[in-house]
């Protein structure tokens, strides 16, 4: 009953005209930015983050959440129509979505995507509302050692199973941890790695890192992809509404995808990509229509979309209740909360009840808005994709510049964004994912603080991390994930067949935004 009462109070918060308006703006802008090929949810959140500083924390977080799932949905539109997934999680939708589009069923694929996203989102929201209070109660028993262990688990999970392999993923996390030490050491007050630059005393701003690595880095990559002609395909939009058979075929996958997605979304580090992939694999096993998978099966669109959106909602569970983001996008959410003076963790449910339940209720409102907005606007998004990219990217670069400059009205931030943009581009070139770096960057200060506290309380005994059951258990799980990740990276590869190569080439994301973006 508590859950229902709190949810009702949250709904009342979201239905305030101002919150509702910003929820709508978030969903609309998220979809708009997400539709643009090569610009994923990370870049979308980074672009909107400076604007959120001027808003009340609840309104800001509701808008950012709207941008997040709006962009995830928008990314699917580009996947289906152009076969350019902005994120790895969207690449699963390409497998059946793009063949559907080529068969003149693009409208049906987009319609099913909207319905499946809504269904998955609702399942994810219910799971979040029910599970979060219990997890928060458990987390109240955590001490510094447990917090260190849970952060460690989040970092390992986010990096060890990343696309570039375990070594590359962990290296990026560690680089992020190091980068987070730039600025004043909050414990001692000493300056670290500021190079005598006064602007670096407060460290590097999260928006600058995200805009550079994801915004600028992705932009450079996607200009090339678009110049080379990927994505300009002739699509027939003749059919819009699903047939009765397609409706019937979609319900089961939406349910199954929603449940699978809500499970994987709540685990730090796995996120939407694993949720979509597992959902697709399970559906392919249980479907009566197995042989149509990969050739334009409507189930093959419904299940990854439902799983993806469900995981998008449940990813907020560890983010808010433990303060440990499972993905780079969630790391941005944590950063946004901290900028507003709110520290995510188990106390968020008691100290910021309105914010937490307002956010949960905003998933309902936001997903309804997404549905209302996108069913009639499918035609608009389709036309948006017809705008040549050469007109798009100068506009995007202007938005990035203004967004960064608005942080402090200081051009130093633009130079730093350029630096991180170059780093982001080089990382893509060298097959390093930027997402783990951002997660390490956000979690670095928390990890260092908890490590110091735990050592101080145990009088310098490192065994404290292994002797306490929760901490020891979490570190053991981390070790298992690490070993698995290293085994996958270093084991001898099987020979690649022609079929594999064609699948890779057909479904290669336009930019490597990370397994967990």
């Amino acid at each position: 009953m508590d859950v229902l009462a709190n949810f009702s109070a949250g709904l009342a918060t979201v239905l305030q005209p101002e919150t509702l308006m910003y929820c709508f703006i978030g969903v609309f802008l998220g979809t708009f930015i997400g539709v643009l090929p090569g610009v994923g949810s990370m870049a979308a959140i980074a672009m909107i983050l400076p604007l959120s500083f001027y808003l009340e924390p609840t309104v800001a977080i509701v808008m950012i959440a709207g941008v997040y799932y709006g962009a995830e949905y928008g990314g699917s539109i580009a996947s289906i129509l152009m076969n350019i997934p902005g994120t790895p999680s969207s690449s699963i939708t390409c497998i059946d979505g793009y063949p559907m589009a080529r068969q003149g069923r693009a409208g049906v694929a987009l319609f099913v995507t909207s319905i499946a996203s809504f269904g998955g989102g609702m399942i994810g929201m219910i799971v979040m509302a029910v599970l979060s209070p219990s997890l928060a109660r458990l987390a109240l028993q955590f001490g510094p050692a447990e917090y260190f262990a849970v952060i460690f688990l989040g970092l390992i999970a986010a990096s060890a199973v990343s696309n570039g392999g375990a070594l590359r993923g962990i290296a990026m996390v560690v680089a992020g941890l190091m980068l987070s030490t730039v600025g004043i050491d909050l414990t001692t007050g000493d300056l670290r790695f500021t190079l005598g630059v006064p602007e670096l005393r407060d460290g590097v701003h999260l928006v600058i890192v995200a805009m550079g690595l994801f915004g600028v880095g992705e932009l450079i990559t996607s200009i090339r992809a678009n110049r080379e002609g990927r994505g300009r395909q002739e699509i027939d939009y003749a059919k819009f509404y699903p047939s009765a058979r397609e409706w019937r075929a979609s319900w089961g996958p939406i349910w199954r995808g929603g449940l699978i997605g809500s499970f994987f979304g709540a685990l730090p580090g796995t996120g939407q990509t694993v949720a979509s992939a597992v959902g697709y694999a399970v559906e392919k096993k249980v479907s009566k229509n197995k042989d149509q998978f990969g050739k334009g099966a409507v189930e093959g669109v419904a299940v990854p979309e439902s799983a993806n959106n469900s995981a998008t909602q449940t990813a907020f569970i560890p983010t808010l209740t433990l303060g440990v983001p499972g993905s780079a996008s969630m790391a941005m959410v944590i950063g946004a909360l901290m900028i507003h003076g709110i520290t995510p963790g188990p106390r968020i449910l008691t100290e910021h009840t309105e914010l937490f339940w307002g956010l949960v209720a905003s998933f309902l409102v936001g997903n309804v808005l997404l549905l209302i907005l996108n069913i009639p606007l499918i035609g608009l998004w389709v036309r948006l994709l017809q705008i040549p990219y050469r007109l798009m990217y100068p506009a995007i670069i202007v938005l990035i510049c203004i967004g960064v400059y608005s942080l402090n009205n200081n051009v130093f931030d633009i130079w730093m964004t350029l630096l991180f943009g170059v780093a982001g581009y080089l990382m893509r070139l060298y097959r390093f994912e930027p997402a783990p770096l951002l997660i390490g960057f956000v979690l670095g200060p928390m990890m260092e603080e908890q490590l110091r506290r735990a050592l101080l309380l145990s009088r310098g005994d490192p065994m404290v991390f292994l002797e306490r059951p929760i901490s020891g258990g979490l570190l053991a799980i981390s070790a298992l994930i690490l070993i698995y990740g290293l085994w996958v990276t270093l084991r001898p590869r099987r020979n690649i067949t022609t079929d594999d190569t064609s699948i890779i080439q057909n479904n290669k994301p336009s930019s490597n935004t990370g397994a967990s973006s």
Binding site: R168, A171, M178, I220, N409, L426, D500, T501, N507
Partner: protein, 164 residues
């Protein structure tokens, strides 16, 4: 499925790596090693403290040490690879870099609108499919949109044009 490297595909399709490809590939791990070295020395200078009370430099020092170990592993991994390395797209790289630089240089001296106009011109400069008047029109449109959206609607404290 997505984790199979393009290098491996190249290898299977018969393309062989040259010295340049090997150098490009190894330079990624090399940059990580250099970054690790910088933070390691910096951490040492800041002081490591004791296990009971870790110093300011302890966390960056041990992180850097770990990064250098990982970079060596990546270096070894990349040495095993064959095939062509991904080449940088210098045109896009320079255009976007120059566009950001133009914004940084112009906005404080001349104001937001000239900065936006010139940023658009710079970013779209290498694109030969768009005529000069098309680029200018896009620049003017973006400058106008920025004024309406950021200065008028959101009230951000930007100067539209300096001196006016």
């Amino acid at each position: 499925m997505m984790g199979i490297s393009s290098n491996k595909i190249m290898q299977d399709t018969g393309h062989r790596a040259g010295v340049k490809d090997i150098l490009i590939r190894l330079s990624g791990a090399g940059l990580l090693l250099a970054l690790g070295l910088y933070f390691m020395i910096g951490g040492l200078n800041l002081g490591l403290g004791s296990p009971f009370r870790p110093g300011t430099g302890a966390f960056p020092f041990f992180s850097a040490l770990l990064l250098m170990g990982l970079a060596l592993g990546i270096l070894w991994q990349d040495l095993q690879q064959d095939g062509l390395a991904d080449r940088p797209d210098w045109i896009s790289f320079l255009a976007i870099g120059a566009a950001l630089s133009v914004f940084a240089l112009v906005t404080e001296r001349f104001g937001l609108l000239p900065a936006v106009f010139l940023t658009v011109l710079t970013a779209s400069a290498p694109d030969r499919s768009l005529p000069w008047w098309g680029k200018a029109a896009l620049g003017l449109f973006m400058a106008g949109l920025s004024y309406v959206l950021f200065i008028e609607a959101l009230g951000l404290p930007f100067k539209a044009i300096r001196g006016i």
